[in-house]
Point group: C2
């Protein structure tokens, strides 16, 4: 089967989604017998519906390689909700442009779209193979051990927590609350524990959405830490909830699937100020958490390239309605391998931190989590030096 191959990006970008794009385009160009042109949909599924394409197979290798160090999505992405007729239209667009292979790069929502397009193509009698490339910073995609995007977001939080801790310990006059991305799953916030690997300095507490937030308990712990250490560093996920499941900060804006809340970190810092009278501040890097190339994990980037290439190979091999997943090869040194997962197994299932990765008091992670997470962030963090009084 010969035809064009289309790559579509969905949802929020990551530091390595373009690396998967690089892997997919590079692989596709190796198969001129099956792939005519490689297209990118400009602006996600919306761009596909508007038939806005660019020809990636015509891009010089030198420029293509810049994808490995370009954050966000070089072909754009979207979060447009799709209707049943949109999928039928996509199937017809594939036919019109002789697109025989579609690679959907995205998270849970995009895998849902992937599955629906696959079914729409069958229903429309259009011969198209649809394969998913996993992408998430939140690490909330089911079945796969982890997915491209998470390792870099994890490295980002570990590195900045290490730096902010160094700052707070050198000028121990306040409580600093760092906000990590991840509204429903605490994987990124949890990765801040890796800040401790360098020189022992790291977060004093880690608040995860998998555990209910109890204000009195939080304030007691902060007070105790402040008395003991002066400067205190807390990392929190952006989506903490009360024991009844409601957000600890009220929503300020709602549009479709997106809900905007006030900042959890600012809320916690204000609690410390107002209820304990202790200086506190918040650091909310926000989008930097997913778009920083300086903190891109080398392991994450390599796996992203592999995921793109594997998805391309799978489609060319006749696979359909599957997503590329990663699993670990048992052994003392980290090694991963890919496998294919039927998209219906991942569609809209949200994966949270398992109990064995969360400490008994619910305010930290376990050594098992640290062991699991460490290889994903790539090279070791920079080593710092601190001097103590001697005389």
């Amino acid at each position: 089967m010969k035809g064009n191959l289309l790559i579509v990006h969905g949802g929020a970008p990551t530091a390595v989604i373009n690396s998967s794009l690089y892997g997919a385009v590079t692989e596709a160009k190796k198969h001129p017998d099956q792939v005519d042109k490689v297209y990118g949909a400009i602006g996600g599924s919306g761009g596909m519906l508007r038939e806005q394409f660019c020809e990636l197979s015509a891009v010089p290798e030198e420029e293509l390689r810049l994808l490995l160090q370009t954050p966000a999505s070089a072909i754009g992405t979207s979060r447009d909700p799709l209707e049943a007729e949109d999928y039928a239209n996509m199937a017809r667009i594939c036919k019109k442009h002789d697109i025989k292979y579609v690679l959907f790069n995205g998270g849970n929502g995009s895998m849902d779209a992937c599955g629906k397009l696959y079914k729409a193509c069958v229903a429309e009698g259009v011969d198209v193979r649809v394969v998913g490339i996993p992408k998430t910073i939140d690490n909330d995609i089911a079945v796969t051990d982890h997915a491209p995007g998470f390792g870099s977001a994890a490295r980002y939080i570990a590195a900045i927590t290490s730096e902010v801790s160094q700052d707070v310990r050198s000028l121990p006059i306040h409580v600093s609350v760092i906000e990590a991305m991840g509204r429903n799953a605490g994987w990124i916030a949890a990765a801040s524990a890796l800040a401790r690997s360098g020189n022992g300095d790291g977060p004093d507490m880690i608040y995860l959405p998998e555990r209910p937030f109890i204000e009195e308990e939080f304030l007691e712990r902060v007070l105790e830490l402040h008395r003991k250490k002066g400067g205190v560093v807390i990392v929190t996920s952006e989506g903490l909830c009360n024991p009844d499941g409601s957000s600890i900060v009220p929503p300020i804006f709602k549009v479709g699937r997106s809900v905007y809340y006030g900042d959890v970190s600012a809320h916690l810092a204000n609690l410390v100020i107002q209820k304990l009278g202790i200086k506190a501040r918040s650091e909310k890097p926000g989008i930097c958490n997913r778009s920083s190339i300086a903190f891109q994990s080398s392991v994450d980037r390599e796996e992203a390239v592999i995921a793109g290439a594997e998805a391309c190979r799978a489609a060319l091999n006749g696979e359909n309605g599957v997503m590329v997943g990663f699993r670990r090869v048992p052994g003392p040194v980290y090694k991963s391998e890919t496998f294919l997962i039927p998209v219906e197994q991942v569609m809209l299932h949200e994966r949270k931190m398992p109990d064995e990765f969360i400490s008994a008091d619910g305010r930290d992670v376990t050594p098992a989590f640290v062991d699991w997470c460490r290889p994903l962030i790539g090279e070791e963090l920079r080593r710092f030096v601190t001097f103590k009084p001697q005389l």
Copy 2:
């Protein structure tokens, strides 16, 4: 004159204050005829008063070199307000520990302390030479062209604005407001303009504390940009004021010289949401702005080492009550040289952005600022790639 040399850090840390420490220690060790031991005061001027010292001249070179990549202050720092008797005590402590040279590394407040210690030593009849090493992320120290710490903070903002812009343009569904450090002077926020140097993508507007904030005008501009581009990126300094000089956000906590305000970026994002009904979010990296080693500017680091070494040499040469400053050597390629400034010329004078560096509409910088700032951020920012619709 032979004796010990003491280095004291004051105020908030930067990404290169430890580089100045490295420069000072390394230089001091070259003069065994004048310098016996090199001490670091652990915990700033408070640490000096508590006589908490560590012997930096005994630290192995390998460990000392880690200072060049260690953020914050490796010997701690403080913001304790000092009384007249504290300076007299410091003079006596110098005598007691045979300290003949004191290098104060800090900003405007520390240069004030530097001048007062110099006078107290004269009054107490203690033969001590006191020299200042400039340090600021805000670039608000008078007389010097710029000072160590600013170049790295500037590089940080330029790089993350470039990355966030890439993210927002690839998923143009909201207005993003990035908050830069710098409460009274807009130098850091202004440096975000350098994000445009890579591939044309950068901030759409830059809000500086040197210009009054007018809400209606802000909302009009955002609405117009949103209509035109979808995604909008705004960089703001953390200290915007109304035309009457009051902060646009109310203070939430005051202690001594420190006042804590709500976040300006969150306030602006909420204005966009509530008054325009447009999705908006804020990114406030906070302390990351001054503590990121990944975004350390190589030029800034080198100048920081030079500032430390020069301060040491000045003290050994008999200078007293002076601070090391930087000025540019005229010519087509950036080159700086140091000179000595009497501390009374810099003490507590706050330097703001001059009019010629601010655009006529007050919401951006001029090409003259970009030319002035560019060499200070070190190597060029990473180049990104973006594809547009072709078919």
